[in-house]
């Protein structure tokens, strides 16, 4: 039963993702001929189709897939751990924690790397872990999970506070840098090269390894720490693993695309509506559907006002805001 449902979920969402991946690089303000793009007889420097396809479009699609998967899975994990369907990297302030980390690395340590990995995703990971530690300390102050009011107010306060730090760093930075970071803070997938993607792959792969062991534990944790522990879950260990994995994927996603809003709320909720609440289905479903969702949103951002390309964060906020309000009306008691 669960085996068959898992196969259906992976096949269904997987083929949807493949379809979106295949179509998205072809669409855009300029028509691209695939035959010309892959024609090796034309030198790359003279091949405009190949340049648009491989430099402008493909990294953007791959980046959107990684960011969407990273934010959506982090949302699923936060919702289970905090036992609250409104928890997500964006609502908890974790995205902004990652942004502060990434901005510090971009502004103060430009171009540096540790062990071959760019400092940006590492700093974003550290920032999301720090913000998460604050949220988690708040949630632990109450024994039976956190009320939605405390959770959301805490997220708002944390986001505003971290926003002030972001403004402070920008104020110190020079003008050209500020222009770039402002675009990035709007949530933009204008990656432009494969370097940041490769850098983000490492933390995302680590998060994926952590996520692989988590789903059943998350199911039990939603019943509360005592109920989970009585059924054999080492709750403290599971929470640590889940928080580190979710911070890694949030950090990687934010370092790549900025604090893109609402993906971590909308995608897990839509996936639950389609596959139920079992995290063995929800987590892989959210990874695949999150990737496809953000590619589609970015396609909208690139084409809606062509030739102007909007930051994708504007599109996800326009879709996500109303969905979030609807959830708030339905779920908060």
């Amino acid at each position: 039963m669960i085996r068959r449902r898992l196969a259906i979920v992976v096949a269904g969402f997987g083929s949807f993702l493949l379809l979106v991946c295949a179509l998205a690089p072809l669409a855009g303000s300029t028509h691209v001929s695939l035959t010309r793009a892959f024609d090796r007889s034309i030198p790359f420097a003279d091949n405009v189709d190949a340049q648009i396809f491989f430099i402008a479009r493909l990294p953007r699609v791959i980046g959107a897939a990684l960011v969407g998967a990273g934010l959506a899975t982090a949302g699923v994990v936060f919702q289970a751990l905090l036992r609250n369907p409104l928890a997500a990297p964006e609502t908890l302030g974790v995205s902004y924690g990652a942004s502060v980390g990434a901005m510090i690395a971009i502004t103060l340590l430009p171009g540096t790397s540790i062990a071959g990995i760019s400092t940006v995703p590492l700093a974003a990971f550290a920032g999301s872990l720090g913000a998460l530690a604050i949220v988690y300390a708040l949630s632990r102050a109450r024994s039976r999970g956190m009320s939605s009011t405390v959770l959301l107010l805490g997220g708002v306060v944390l986001t505003t506070f971290l926003g002030a730090i972001v403004n402070f760093i920008q104020y110190l930075a020079d003008f050209t840098q500020t222009f770039r970071t402002v675009r990035w803070l709007m949530g933009s997938l204008d990656v432009g090269s494969y370097g940041p993607i490769v850098a983000a792959l490492v933390p995302l792969a680590l998060a994926g390894v952590g996520y692989a062991t988590l789903p059943r534990t998350l199911d039990l944790v939603t019943l509360g720490p005592d109920a989970a522990s009585a059924r054999g879950v080492d709750v403290a260990r599971a929470e640590r693993l889940a928080l580190v994995s979710a911070s890694l994927s949030t950090g990687a996603a934010v370092s790549l695309g900025g604090p893109i809003g609402f993906v971590g709320i909308v995608v897990p909720h839509l996936v639950r509506m389609m596959v139920g609440t079992d995290h063995r289905l929800v987590l892989p479903g959210a990874a695949l559907f999150g990737a496809a969702f953000l590619i589609a949103c970015d396609l909208g951002a690139r084409t809606a006002f062509a030739p102007v390309e909007l930051p994708v964060g504007i599109v996800t906020a326009i879709i996500g805001g109303p969905v979030f309000l609807w959830l708030l009306l339905r779920r908060v008691r």
Binding site: M1, L220, L223, T277
Partner: protein
């Protein structure tokens, strides 16, 4: 098979988390020098006023908490030396209340009881489904199988949670006030269910309760807890006396054999003066 020997315990509220206290001389103790022995096949009742330490004692016995001093042993070994999975294969716990944030169905809740029997990446097979369905049937909740857990009534939820504990296939069942918040009919259903499990499967149980008649009809032994200390313990008929009820609750109660059931019955008459 499950024993607590000279257990002391206190909660210390420090900042965000509750941590264990130091030696028994500091702080207010939730449990002071409590000893309790549960033999195979027994049903031990824990009685005591609110705040007397019943829930804490159950949490110590399931290894969720660790005593400050003293030992809790399972099959002769310290509970702390077992992994969470090993404990869960031997001891199942039914909490006072279970909440589900997400819309799990009753069957999914019961299937979660199979967790300690599956490997890290193993998915439930037909055997697990059969065990879960048997557990639902044993608690009279088979009809709720596809229903969202959150939509069930208090009594229905409690029986589904007991089914989840049964699916865990453990020899020992710890129940924390299983009939609290249930109406009279469900209270009898739960008592009948527990008696049947004990008779048919030989399940050993520790039950905390405020229901004196549940204790009288179900439990083979009783432990009376007052302010974290054992007031009296032993076979139900020896412990459930007028004098002990007065000392435990400050209540004047008639304890007699009911002529219809031939069992002990406790009728509280009023506050003791």
């Amino acid at each position: 098979m499950l024993q607590a020997a000279n257990v002391w315990f206190s909660y210390v509220a420090s900042g965000f988390s509750r941590t264990r206290a130091g030696p028994p001389d500091g702080g207010r103790h939730v449990l002071s020098d409590v000893s309790l022995s549960v033999s195979r096949g027994a049903i031990v009742g824990l009685l005591g006023p609110n705040g007397s330490g019943k829930t804490t004692l159950l949490r110590l016995m399931s290894g969720t908490l660790t005593p400050d001093t003293g030992t809790v042993t399972l099959e002769g070994r310290s509970v702390g030396s077992f992994s969470r999975l090993d404990i869960a294969r031997r001891i199942a716990v039914v909490a006072q209340e279970t909440h589900s944030t997400f819309d799990f169905t009753a069957l999914e809740i019961v299937m979660m009881g199979r967790y300690p029997h599956l490997g890290a990446f193993e998915l439930e097979g037909p055997d697990d489904l059969r065990i879960a369905r048997d557990s639902l049937a044993a608690t009279g909740t088979a009809a709720f199988e596809p229903r969202p857990f959150a939509t069930l009534s208090g009594g229905e939820k409690q029986r589904v949670v007991i089914a989840s504990a049964l699916a865990q296939a453990s020899e020992i069942l710890l129940l924390d006030e299983p009939t609290a918040s249930l109406d009279l009919g469900y209270q009898f259903d739960i008592i009948d269910l527990l008696a049947r499990l004990n008779r048919d499967r030989g399940t050993t149980m520790v039950v905390s309760t405020h229901d004196l008649n549940l204790a009288a009809s179900l439990c083979s032994e009783l432990v009376l807890l007052r302010r974290g200390q054992v007031l009296a313990s032993g076979p139900t008929a020896d412990v459930l006396t007028h004098a002990n009820m007065r000392a435990l609750y400050g209540v004047d109660a008639d304890v007699s054999i009911n002529p219809r059931t031939h069992r002990l019955t406790v009728v509280p008459v009023g506050r003791a003066r």
